[in-house]
C-alpha cells in the first residue's frame, strides 16, 4: 500500500512541478486568460497517456522495451530544451512587464502561449506513459485487491496537494524573487530530467556506459524510501548515477545556471528602457 502510494506520489510530483510553476507564473502576471492553454496541454497528455496505456495493455501489440525507454528518453531531452527556453522567456517577459510595456508583453505572450501548451504537454506526457501502464496493471489487479490502485491514487492526490501548497507559496512571494527562484528551480529540475533521459537512453542501449557508475548512495538513500521518492520526484535525483548522467547534469546546469544568474543580477538594478512607440507606416 505504502509502496504503491510512493509510486503515485513520485510520478505525480515529476509532472506537477513544472505545471505548477507555469500556472503560478501566468497568475502572477495577471494573464489568467492563458490558463486554459495550460490545462489543454495537461489534458491532452493525460488522455494520450491513458489511451496508449490501455492500448498497450489490452491491445494485440505492445511497445518493445527499447522503444519505451527511447520514447521516455527523447521526450525528456525535448522537455529539457523547452523548459530551458521557458526559463529565459519568462525572464524576458518579466523584464518588459517591469517597464509596463503591455504591448511588448502581449506580443511575447502571443508567441509564447503556444509554447506553454507544449511545455505543459511534455511535462505531463513524459511520465504519463509509465504511470498509465502502472495504473492499468493496478486496475487489472483489482480482482485480487483494491489496495494497489487505492495507494497509487492517494499518491497522485498527494502530489496534487503538494503542488497546490507549492503554488500558494509561490503566489505569496514578490515578483522579482518569484522569477529568480522559479527560474533557478526549473533549471535544477530540467538538469534532473536531462540526466534521467540519458539514463533511459542508456537502458535502451542507444547510449553506452549503463554500468559505469559515478557514485552509488543507494544504501544511504534507498529509492523506495519516502525521502528517496521526494528527491526523485522533485529533482530527479538517482542514488546510483552513471558517469554519463553525472557529466550531462553538470554540462547542463553549470552554463545554464551561470547565464541565468548573470541575467537575474543584471535585471534587478537597471530599470527597463523606455521605448517610444513606432508610428504606423514608418517601416
Amino acid at each position: 500500500m505504502f509502496a504503491n502510494y510512493l509510486i503515485g506520489l513520485r510520478e505525480g510530483l515529476e509532472a506537477a512541478l513544472v505545471v505548477v510553476i507555469l500556472v503560478a507564473y501566468l497568475v502572477k502576471i495577471q494573464r489568467r486568460d492563458l490558463l486554459p492553454g495550460i490545462w489543454l496541454g495537461v489534458s491532452l497528455a493525460a488522455a494520450l497517456s491513458l489511451g496508449f496505456g490501455a492500448l498497450l495493455t489490452y491491445g494485440t501489440y505492445g511497445l518493445t522495451f527499447e522503444a519505451q525507454e527511447a520514447i521516455g528518453g527523447v521526450l525528456s531531452v525535448l522537455a529539457v530544451g523547452l523548459v530551458t527556453w521557458m526559463v529565459f522567456w519568462m525572464a524576458r517577459t518579466a523584464k518588459n512587464l517591469r517597464g509596463e510595456l503591455h504591448g511588448q508583453v502581449d506580443r511575447h505572450l502571443a508567441a509564447g502561449g503556444k509554447g506553454l501548451v507544449v511545455v505543459a504537454f511534455l511535462a505531463v506526457g513524459r511520465e504519463g506513459l509509465e504511470t498509465a501502464l502502472f495504473l492499468w496493471s493496478a486496475v487489472q489487479a483489482t480482482g485480487q485487491t483494491t489496495q494497489p490502485i487505492l495507494g497509487a491514487s492517494l499518491g497522485l492526490a498527494s502530489a496534487v496537494m503538494l503542488g497546490w501548497l507549492f503554488y500558494r507559496g509561490m503566489l505569496s512571494i514578490n515578483l522579482s524573487k518569484f522569477f529568480t527562484w522559479t527560474g533557478g528551480m526549473l533549471i535544477v529540475v530540467a538538469a534532473g530530467v536531462l540526466s534521467y533521459g540519458i539514463h533511459d537512453l542508456q537502458e535502451a542501449g542507444i547510449l553506452p556506459g549503463l554500468h559505469s557508475l559515478l557514485f552509488d548512495v543507494s544504501a544511504a538513500i534507498p529509492p523506495s524510501s519516502w525521502y528517496g521518492t521526494l528527491l526523485k520526484g522533485t529533482v530527479n535525483f538517482s542514488p546510483a548515477t552513471t558517469w554519463f548522467e553525472g557529466i550531462a547534469w553538470l554540462l547542463y546546469i553549470l552554463p545554464t545556471m551561470t547565464l541565468f544568474i548573470r541575467r537575474s543580477m543584471r535585471r534587478t538594478p537597471t530599470p527597463a528602457p523606455v521605448q517610444h512607440p513606432v508610428p504606423q507606416g514608418a517601416h
Binding site: A3, F65, A67
Partner: protein
Amino acid sequence: MITARLPKPAAVAAACGILFVTACTPNASAGTAAGGTGELSVTSTAEDCSVSAATAESGPLTFTITNSGDQVTEFYLLAEDGLRIVSEVENIGPGISRDLVVNATPGSYYTVCKPGMVGDGVGRAAFTVTDSGTAVEPTGDEQAQIDAALTNYKAYVKDQVDQLLTGTEDFAAAYVAGNDDEARRLYPTTRMHFERVEPVAESFGDLDPKLDNREADLAEGEEWTGWHRIEKDLWPPAEAGYVPLTQAEREAVAAQLVEDTTTLHSSIQGIELSLDQLANGAIGLMDEVANGKVTGEEEIWSGTDLWDFQGNVEGARVLADGLRDLLEARDPELAATLDADFTSLSTELDKHRTSAPDAAQRDIAYVSYGDLASEDVKALSDRVNALSEPLSRITAALLG
C-alpha cells in the same frame, strides 16, 4: 480520443509507425501458436525471484510478474553476459502484476528481480531460449535487414569493448597490486572480449599493435607494450635471463594498457560499418585463429590460446548470425553449411573446456595449449579450415 474508435490493431500499428519503425512487439494474445507456450509467471518477493520455467521456445514470451513482497520491485531479462538489459519492467507495486512481453531469440539469458530498486537484484537465474524453428524477426525489405544487421553488430562491438575496458581496469589493478594469481585468472577471460571484435579493433591502425603486439612482431627499436608484455611478466620463461619488471615498470605498462584500451573504447563509439566489413570480419576472425591460435603462437607464455580461439569463433558466429536473414534469402544452402560447420567447431572446442558450460565470463576455462596432443590440434585445425571455406563465400553471396 480519436484513436480509440479505430480497430485496435490498426490504431496500435499507426501509433507504432509514428513513434519508431521497429518499436512494436506482439502481445502474447496476438500470436496464433504463441499464446499457450510462451507464457511464464514470475513471483518476486524480498528474497526470491522464481520463474515458472527455466527454458522457453523462441518467439513472443510473456512474463507475468507478480509482486508478492512489500516493496516496489523490478524484473529484468539480461543477456548472456549478465549485464546488458534485454528487457525490463519497472515500478511493479506490491500486489500488482505486470506483463513483460519480449520477442526472444534463441540463446542464454538471466532473469533477476530487484525489490526496492537497488543493488544487483535477487534470485538471479539462468534462462534458456531454445530455437522454435520459426524466425523471430519479421522479414522486411532487404535494406531494413542490412540496417538492422549493422545496428546490432555495432551494439555488440560497443558492449564487448565496454566489458573489455572494465576487465582491463580490474586486470591492471591486480597486476599493479602484485596480485599475480588474480591477474593470471583475469588475463585470458578479459582478452576474449577483445578477440571477439578483433577486426574492428584492428581498424584503428596504431592501437592494435600497441595493445596486442607479440614479442616476435616487434620491429627494430619498437617499444613493447600491451597484453603480451604483461603476459611474459606474469608467466616468466623458465630459462634463465628473464628479468622481472620492477614495480615502476609494472605501473607504467599497466597504465599504458588501460590508456590505450580507453582510447579504443572512445574511438569505437562513433564507428561506422558497412556490410562488406561485416562479411569480411568473419573471415578475418577465422584467419586469426588459423594463423595464431591453432598454432599456439599467440600466447606463448601463458598457453591461453584456446580462450582467444573461442573468442574469435564466437565473434565470427555473431557476425554470421547477424547476416543470417540476408543470407537465408540469397543462399539458404550456404546458411545451413555455416550452421553445421560452426556447430562442429564449437563441439571440438568444448572438448577442451574445463569450466561448466554456464560459467560466468570470468570463470571460463580451457586446458593450456601445451596440454593439447598433436591429434587434438589437427582436429581443431581441420574444423577451422572446414569453416573458412563457407565463410569466404558470404561476401560474394551478399554483395554479388
